[in-house]
Structure formats: C-alpha cells, structure tokens
C-alpha cells in the first residue's frame, strides 16, 4: 500500500482530463491528492473551479491576474487607423475619428502599440481573475478563478503552472473539460495524463477526443472508468479496442454520489474508497515510472 511508500520523494506532474464535463475529473484528482498526503493540487478549470469546495483550503494567499489592454491618448491619435487595420481580433474601431477599444475581444498581443506612428497607445492592466494558494492537510491547493464575462483563462493557467514549475512534489492538475487550447495549456507540463471516462455514448465520443489529444502531445496516459454499472460499458470497450491501459474502475454508487455531491473528500469518509484511490495512486505512480523509463 502506498501509505507505507515514501510519496515525498516522488516528483511527477499528473494531469486529469476527460473531454466531457461531469465525468469525475475533480473527484479523481482531489481524492488522489488527498490519499497521496504530501502533494500539490492545481485546479486549472478556471471557468468553474470546484476542487477548493472539496479540499476546503485554509490560510489562503491571493494574487490577481491581469492582462495588458491598450489605452488611447486621443490628443496624440491622428486617426490614421493603422492600429484598426492591424488588429486581427477586431478589438479596435475608429468611429467619428475617435478610437474605441473593445477590451473583451483584445488578445493582448501588443501589435497596436507597435504600429502606432504617434505613440498614442499605451497599455494598462486589466484584471481578469485571480489565483489562490491554500493548505488542506498536507495538500497545497492552487485555484485559478476567471471573472465572469471574461473570455479566456489561459493567462491564469499559465501563471498557475509557472508558479508550480519547479515544485518537486507529486502534483495533480485538474483540467477543464474539452480538448481546446485551454486543455492543451494545462497538460503541457504533465508527465502523465489520467483520462476519466463515463460509460455512455457521449462519454466515449469525448474520450476519443482527449485520447487523440494526448497522443498528439505524446503524453503517456491511462484511463479511469467512472460510474461503472453492471451493464456493458462502452468506454471500457473503447479502451480494449485501442489497447489503452485501464488504471482503475470506480463503481456507480449512491453513497459515493451523495458524499461527492456534498463536496466531501470520499477517502476520509469511507474505507472502501480510501483503498480504491490508494491503489489507483499506486497504479498511476507505477505507470509513470514505467513510462518514464521506457521513454528515456
């Protein structure tokens, strides 16, 4: 059992992702972090961060995250429209010779500042969200939070991961759903990816997408089957067909569902699940070590 293993000496980053939402990414990542004891948990689902609801971190330190947005000095602006023509994101418009910045669609590339011949544009900081660091038992909890109405949380994820780049500890990265740019950013630094799948046709369809994503990025990975019922499991069939390592199975269970819906860490409430997540962690660590050796 892992309880007797020295997890402190283990330094690896494990990303948990799923494609489809609601398959159990947060369930898996918070419980793995809790069972590993000394570990770091990073919630990269900045649009809807939930890990902190489970781990209930204390001693929270906060840092706001901002991006750079252009600001125009209308006295210097000659109305040449060079910036408007340059901006690929249509974040600038010149209306009645007055320059208007649409902050929500600005990607902060800085191009308009470069092209302005009058130096009429400068940059200001615009807060888009924040990151929080807290402690829950022996788990260090990092949470990224995007403000509502903001389009992209990527700068927040970048900051979260940059802050943890040199942390030599078992680290779990709870990813956002999907397989778009934001997920890619989250798994970039991961040593291993855990894909969580549910036994529905939807689950398989989205599992296939993240499967393609981790293959594209050449990340070693395995699958956790969640919400397993007695009946035939299309996600399991998918894994067998593609020869994907199944790391563990979590049954569909009302007790587990209730604990989890009340934001409890199930391993602290139920011995059966402590064992399940403990052996899942064992399997994951073995896999990572195996894969790292195989790749080196």
């Amino acid at each position: 059992m892992l309880d007797f293993m020295d997890t402190e000496a283990i330094n690896m980053k494990i990303a948990v992702l799923s494609g489809k939402g609601g398959t159990g990414k947060t369930l898996v990542s918070v419980n793995l972090a809790a069972v590993a004891k000394k570990s770091t948990y990073i919630d990269c689902d900045v649009e809807e961060p939930n890990g902190h609801l489970f781990l209930k971190p204390e001693e929270i330190l906060e840092e706001t995250i901002s991006v750079k947005i252009p600001m125009v000095n209308n006295e210097l602006c000659s109305g040449c429209r060079k910036c408007v023509d340059f901006c690929k994101f249509n974040a600038l418009a010149s209306i009645k010779n007055k320059l208007i910045v649409f902050e929500d669609v600005c990607h902060s590339c800085g191009g308009c500042i470069l092209v302005c011949p009058q130096k009429a544009l400068t940059e200001k900081e615009k807060v888009i969200g924040k990151i929080q660091k807290g402690i829950s038992g022996e788990v260090t909890v990092w949470t990224g939070i995007l403000n509502t109405g903001e389009a992209t949380g990527i700068p927040i994820i970048k900051k979260l991961l940059a802050n943890n780049a040199s942390v030599e500890q078992l680290t779990f990265i709870d990813c956002p759903p999907g397989s778009a740019c934001i997920v890619m950013e989250s798994i970039k630094d991961a040593d291993y990816c855990v894909l969580v799948a549910e036994p529905t046709l939807f689950g398989v369809h989205n599992l296939n997408m993240v499967y393609e994503l981790v293959k594209l990025f050449n990340k070693p990975f395995g699958v956790v089957l969640n919400k397993c019922l007695e009946e035939e499991n299309p996600a399991e069939r998918f894994c067998l067909e593609k020869n994907i390592k199944i790391l563990g199975r979590i049954p569909f269970d009302n007790d587990l569902g209730t604990l989890n819906s009340n934001s409890e860490i199930v391993i602290n409430k139920n011995e059966k699940y402590r064992e399940l997540f403990s052996s899942l962690l064992d399997t994951v660590i073995e896999e990572v070590q195996h894969k790292t050796i195989a790749n080196s």
Partner: protein, 288 residues
C-alpha cells in the same frame, strides 16, 4: 433558446435532445464545439455537409530569409516562437496576431491560413441541424460558435423555435453562444460544485440581460441541495421550472442513440413537464 449549465455533465445534451424531439424543432444546433454530442442522439442518417472552418492564420518563418535577429521572439506575447537553434513557430501557441510578421526586419514571416475546425450541417425538407467540431488544441472557439449559429440561421430561415445546446464553462464559447438568444435554460445539478457553477453561469447570463430559467436534473441524488437550489432561485427571482429524477433508463436510452422521451421512463415524463413550462415562459409576453 439556449441550454447551458456551467458545470459539465449535468444533462444539457440529454435535455436538449428531448426538447428537440418534443417540439419537433425545425432548427437546432450544438454549440459545444469542443465536445459535441448532440449528433449522437438526433438520428440523422442523411448526408452531412462539411465545410472547413478557418480560424485566424498562423505565422510561418521562411528560414532562408531569417537572419536570427530574435525580434519575433521578443515581441511575441504568446511564447509561440522557439529557437532550437532555428527559429520556429509553435502552431498551437500562435494566435495569429501578426506581430512577428510586422516586426521581422527581413520579411521572413508570413501568416498562412489554418483550418481550425469543421462545420457540419445536416438538413432535409423539414429541419436543419448545425454543429461543428473544433480541431484539437485550437483556440478561437468563440468564432466557431458564432459560425454554427450563423449556419443554422441562414439555412433554416425564419423559424419559431430554435434549440441550441451549449458548452460547459463561462468563457468565450459560452459568451458567443449567448449573443442573440431569447432565453437561457440552465440545467443545474444538486451538488455543491453544481450549485457553485450554476451561480457563475447565471451571473454570466445576467451580464447579457438574457431571460433565464433553471431546472434541476438528477434532483433525487441530493434532496438537500435540490432544496438549496430552489431557495436560491426564489431569492434571485429566477424562473424555476421543475426537476428531473436520476434514471438509469436515461443512460440506456442514450447508449442506444435515443432520447429520453423515446422510451417510457420517469426522467422522460419529468422532462416533458419541464418542456411545457419552458415553452410557456419563452413565448409569454414580458409582463414588466
């Protein structure tokens, strides 16, 4: 009408597919372009019309012209330019802003069009279904969402009711899907995470001033939290239009490619009730 949830996996697509069946909707769309699923249960066999979707272009460096000055890398805000030792653009990080092309003193960089996804259109004499799949790791998802809606509108013409299945979260695809809709139906889940996410999405929708209603899915998995959501809706004066029980038949229906109103089951009859209330709300004249 748009269906959203904040949190994933609360049952947006399950409910959207039931609504489409019940209303016999002439036009519908799947705006969860990052993980689309609606096509799996809407039973289209006809030929699908696929169109490549070009997002923003990506930069490319011509190494024969490049003089390794490093200007592009210094000015790129997205860390998209690597040098090992030749200068190279990371296509996944590049957002196509054109700064590198502008700063390059020797004209070695050009922006090339790049396929960022695929638009799909299913249609017959009666109805149209518009959906898309974003290419893996692509950005510009909000723009593709707008394209999906545009495609639906242009091929369906004027219809009374269009049902749009949204994506989880509160970011650009959700914001893009919100523009121009008359009503948002939020599918909430009675978990603490579900409630937290529901509040986020309600706040996001409120910024757009869109009429919002809430229903609870899998309500019996946690009665206490269900009551909390009902309480919250009352306090926020949101239209609360019913709850749907957890039903293992729903999983079976979906896995057979059916909607939950195709079979006789408890969740199916509950969703019918939610549907009728939604339609009444959608078409009622604003009283204030």
């Amino acid at each position: 009408m748009l269906i959203l949830s904040g949190k994933g996996g609360t049952g947006k697509t399950t409910i959207a597919s039931a609504f489409i069946k019940l209303s016999n909707a002439k036009a519908y769309a799947d705006c969860d372009i990052d993980a689309p699923n609606l096509h799996l249960v809407t039973g289209w066999n006809s030929q699908v019309k696929k169109t490549d979707y070009y997002g923003l272009p990506k930069a490319e460096i011509n190494l024969e012209l490049c003089n390794n000055c490093g200007q592009c890398r210094q000015n790129c805000r997205f860390d998209a330019i690597k040098s090992d030792p030749d200068y190279k653009v990371d296509p996944f990080a590049c957002e196509g802003c054109g700064v590198c092309e502008y700063v390059c003193p020797v004209g070695a960089i050009t922006l090339k069009p790049a396929v960022a996804g695929e638009l799909m259109l299913y249609s017959d004499e009666e109805k149209v279904f518009s959906t898309a799949q974003l290419k893996m790791g692509s950005g510009t998802s909000g723009m593709l969402v707008s394209e999906v809606k545009k495609q639906m509108r242009s091929s369906a013409g004027k219809v009374e009711l269009a049902i749009i299945d949204g994506s989880p979260g509160i970011g650009c695809p959700v914001i893009a899907s919100l523009s121009g809709v008359d009503m948002v139906l939020i599918v909430a889940e009675p978990s603490i995470s579900g409630i937290s996410d529901m509040e986020h999405i309600i706040n996001t929708a409120a910024k757009f001033g869109t009429k919002t209603a809430v229903c609870i899915n899998k309500y019996d998995t946690n009665i206490e939290n269900t009551e909390k959501i009902e309480e919250y809706c009352k306090k926020q004066r949101l239209s609360y239009i019913g709850k749907i029980p957890f039903d293992s038949n729903a999983v079976k229906a979906i896995n057979n490619g059916q909607t939950i109103v195709d079979i006789d089951c408890t969740s199916g009859s509950a969703v019918k009730e939610v549907y009728h209330k939604t339609i009444n709300l959608l078409f009622e004249k604003d009283s204030d």
